[in-house]
Symmetry: C2
Subunit: 197 residues, 2 copies
């Protein structure tokens, strides 16, 4: 039987214009974990306000200079792509900018990923391949579950598993502010999710 197969030859994930502008204008370094998390939570807030995706944001910072390298927001619905989580976008943009698939390559500085929520199972699994050396998170799995999202079948001992791959982890940074963003979204946004059984 003959069927029609796809002629699509690429995957394009386009950032919202507002995000490109905000990132370009963020020229000051952000020296504290709280300042970096506040910046990322602000991106999640703007993603809700502009209706350009889910209530999640993430950014990559140079750990030596505290300079912003790249930022991503959740683009799952507008891009029709379930892998378009904020962390995946931020990591991929940083790798594109640095022309390397491994942000932990020997000739590069160390990089931190700051995420408004703890990573889901997919983003957790992406971290060892990304080359980042440190992860900072805001809201946790309980906060996400409280509004109908969840982190998926994440490794039960995920922090230790990352530590064993050379990635240190800090959780609960600006947790109250990070949780509030999820609750703001829950009042009006689409809670998409995988079927759970």
């Amino acid at each position: 039987m003959k069927t029609n197969t796809t002629k699509i030859d690429n995957i394009l994930l386009q950032l919202p214009t507002w995000l490109t502008t905000v990132v370009a204008e963020q020229s000051d370094t952000l020296p504290t974990p709280e300042a970096r998390m506040h910046f990322v939570i602000q991106l999640a807030r703007l993603n809700i306000e502009h209706k350009t995706g889910g209530p999640f944001a993430a950014a990559i910072f140079n750990m030596e200079t505290q300079a912003l390298i790249s930022a991503g927001v959740n683009l799952v619905i507008p891009s029709n792509c379930s892998m378009a989580h904020a962390e995946m976008i931020a990591i991929s943009l940083a790798q594109k900018q640095l022309n390397h698939y491994d942000l932990g390559a020997p000739d590069l500085p160390r990089f931190e990923l700051v995420s408004s929520s703890e990573p889901c199972a997919m983003c957790f699994g992406a971290l060892p391949w990304s080359g980042i050396r440190h992860l900072s998170c805001g809201a946790d799995d309980m906060d996400a579950r409280a509004i109908g999202f969840d982190e998926g079948p994440r490794h039960p001992d995920w922090v230790k598993a990352l530590n064993e791959r050379g990635i240190s982890v800090d959780t609960g940074i600006c947790k109250t502010e990070a949780k509030e963003i999820l609750q703001t979204y829950a009042k009006k946004g689409i809670i998409y999710n995988a079927r759970q059984g």
Copy 2:
């Protein structure tokens, strides 16, 4: 301190020309699990021969018609993107083609992901969000480790975890042929990997 931030506003993952051609020409349906796996392993072989990425391939099939929907290969090195695993490419292409971030949406047929190797931690975590209903794998984690790759910190009970999310799993399909592809690549290809501690 002022720094330079990225002006990059998109992530573009471009398929190799040969893959687009092979997919367009694959108009016959593939009715058996072995036929579908053989097709996918052939893509992994071609990815090695064309030097367009790692020795991994994956494809999405309509479970009702056994028609090919999309196919991906590992593009990590040529695209400078650590998330560009074969499974992620195949899933994203199918979602783009069907204009939906959830291949398990109520108005769609059921879809199967066929992968030349078992999923790594990232691709495992991506499956519940993708909406696929069945996973078929060839080579296993041991086969990947034997040539220096690994599956990362995957959930220790990953098959059960997928089953609990409504995704059935078959492993070891055409395992000998799938393993041979990895060994072929190991003789001349780049074994990139994350640091493991």
